[in-house]
C-alpha cells in the first residue's frame, strides 16, 4: 500500500513551457514600444524643487530642455551653476541659436507648440535663470515650463 503511494507522488508532470517565449515576447514588445531612450547625459546635478500645483507636460516630442545646475565634476568645472544644452555646457548667448535649431527640427505645423522645459537645480541663483528667460524671450520661445517634482503639501 505504502509503496504504491510513494511511486505516484514522485513523478510530478513537467510544466509545459512552450508558451513561455510568447509571454516574454509580449512583455518585450510592451517595453520596446514604451521606451524613450535617454537623449542626453547630464553634466549638471539636478535636484528639482518641489511644487504642488503642477501640470503634466504633454507631447514630449515638442519639448526642448535646458538644464541648469552645478556641474557634476565640480573639481573640473567649479560649483557655480552652468547651463547645459544638449550634451555640452553652454553660455547664455548660445540659447538663441539652440532655440532656432530646435525649431528647425520640428514640423512647420508644430513650431508654435514648442515648450521649453527649464530643468533647474534648486540651489541655483535666479540671476542665471533670469538671463536664460530673457534670451528665450528674445528668441521667441515664450512657452516655458519650470520643471518640478510633485509633492510637499505643507499645510
Amino acid at each position: 500500500m505504502s509503496r504504491f503511494k510513494t511511486k505516484k507522488g514522485k513523478g510530478s508532470p513537467a510544466i509545459n513551457t512552450s508558451s513561455l517565449p510568447d509571454i516574454i515576447f509580449m512583455l518585450l514588445f510592451f517595453f520596446m514600444v514604451t521606451t524613450v531612450m535617454r537623449e542626453v547625459s547630464l553634466k549638471v546635478k539636478l535636484k528639482l524643487p518641489q511644487a504642488t500645483e503642477v501640470q503634466k507636460l504633454e507631447k514630449k516630442s515638442l519639448v526642448s530642455y535646458i538644464y541648469i545646475g552645478p556641474p557634476v565634476k565640480s573639481n573640473l568645472y567649479g560649483t557655480n551653476s552652468r547651463i547645459q544644452l544638449n550634451d555640452t555646457f553652454a553660455n547664455v548667448d548660445d540659447i538663441q541659436e539652440f532655440v532656432a535649431k530646435e525649431r528647425e527640427d520640428r514640423d512647420e505645423a508644430d513650431k508654435k507648440f514648442i515648450t521649453t522645459s527649464l530643468k533647474v537645480d534648486g540651489i541655483t541663483k535666479m540671476g542665471i535663470v533670469t538671463d536664460v528667460k530673457q534670451e528665450l524671450r528674445k528668441a521667441g520661445a515664450l512657452k516655458i515650463n519650470y520643471s518640478t517634482r510633485k509633492g510637499r503639501d505643507k499645510k
Binding site: 517565449p21 516574454i24 518585450l28 517595453f31 521606451t35 540651489i123 517634482r149
Partner: protein, 192 residues
C-alpha cells in the same frame, strides 16, 4: 533517394534570447512623467522707455530678496500668508478703495456677465534669489489662482475645476479668472 525529414529547430533558447532583450529594455526604460509649472513669457519689448501706467491700487507687489525673504506690498511677509493675500487681493471688493478696480465683462463661454478684477500680481526677484524660493512663490501664486478657479467652478457647475471635461467650460473659467502674474523686467541692482 529517401526523403530526409527536415530537422526540427531547437527553440528552447528562444526564451533566453527574449529574456535578454526584455531585460535590456527594462533597464533603459524611463517612465517618469515630466511635470512642472507652465508659464508664458511676455514678448520682448521694443521700446524700453514706454512704461505702461498701472494704478498703484491695482498692483500687488511681491519682492524676493537675495536672502529669500519676502516683501508683500511693502510689508515683510511669509510664504504661508502669500496665498491668502493673493486670493484676497484678486477677489472683488465693491466700494473698497484699497482693493483693485474691477469692471463687468461678458464671458460668452459661460453666458454671464462677471466683475473682472483689474489687479495684477507683480513678482520681482533679486539675482541672488534661490530657484527653490522662486518656485515656492510661483507655486503659492498658482495655487491661489487654482483655488479661485475651483471656487468659481464649484459655484457654477458644482464640480472642481480639474473635474471639468467640457472644453467650453474650462475656457470660460480661464477667461473669467486669468492668471495675472507679471514678472518685472530684470534690473541690475548690483551686488550678488
Amino acid at each position: 533517394m529517401a526523403k530526409r525529414a527536415a530537422p526540427e529547430i531547437n527553440a528552447g533558447s528562444m526564451a533566453d534570447i527574449a529574456f535578454l532583450l526584455l531585460i535590456f529594455f527594462l533597464v533603459t526604460t524611463t517612465m517618469d512623467v515630466d511635470t512642472g509649472i507652465t508659464r508664458k513669457l511676455p514678448p520682448p519689448v521694443e521700446n524700453n522707455d514706454e512704461d505702461i501706467d498701472v494704478k498703484d491700487r491695482n498692483v500687488l507687489k511681491v519682492l524676493i530678496n537675495s536672502h529669500d525673504r519676502l516683501l508683500i506690498d511693502g510689508k515683510p511677509g511669509d510664504v504661508s500668508q502669500l496665498k491668502q493675500i493673493a486670493i484676497d487681493f484678486m477677489s472683488i471688493h465693491p466700494g473698497d478703495e484699497s482693493y483693485p478696480e474691477f469692471e463687468p465683462r461678458m464671458i460668452e463661454e459661460l453666458g454671464l456677465e462677471r466683475d473682472m478684477s483689474k489687479g495684477i500680481i507683480s513678482l520681482k526677484n533679486d539675482r541672488g534669489t534661490s530657484y527653490d524660493m522662486y518656485i515656492t512663490v510661483q507655486n503659492e501664486l498658482a495655487s491661489a489662482f487654482n483655488q479661485m478657479k475651483d471656487e468659481l467652478s464649484q459655484q457654477l457647475f458644482g464640480l472642481k475645476y480639474a473635474q471639468l471635461i467640457d472644453q467650453k467650460k474650462i475656457k470660460g473659467i480661464n477667461k473669467a479668472l486669468p492668471v495675472r502674474i507679471s514678472e518685472a523686467e530684470p534690473e541690475d541692482i548690483g551686488g550678488n
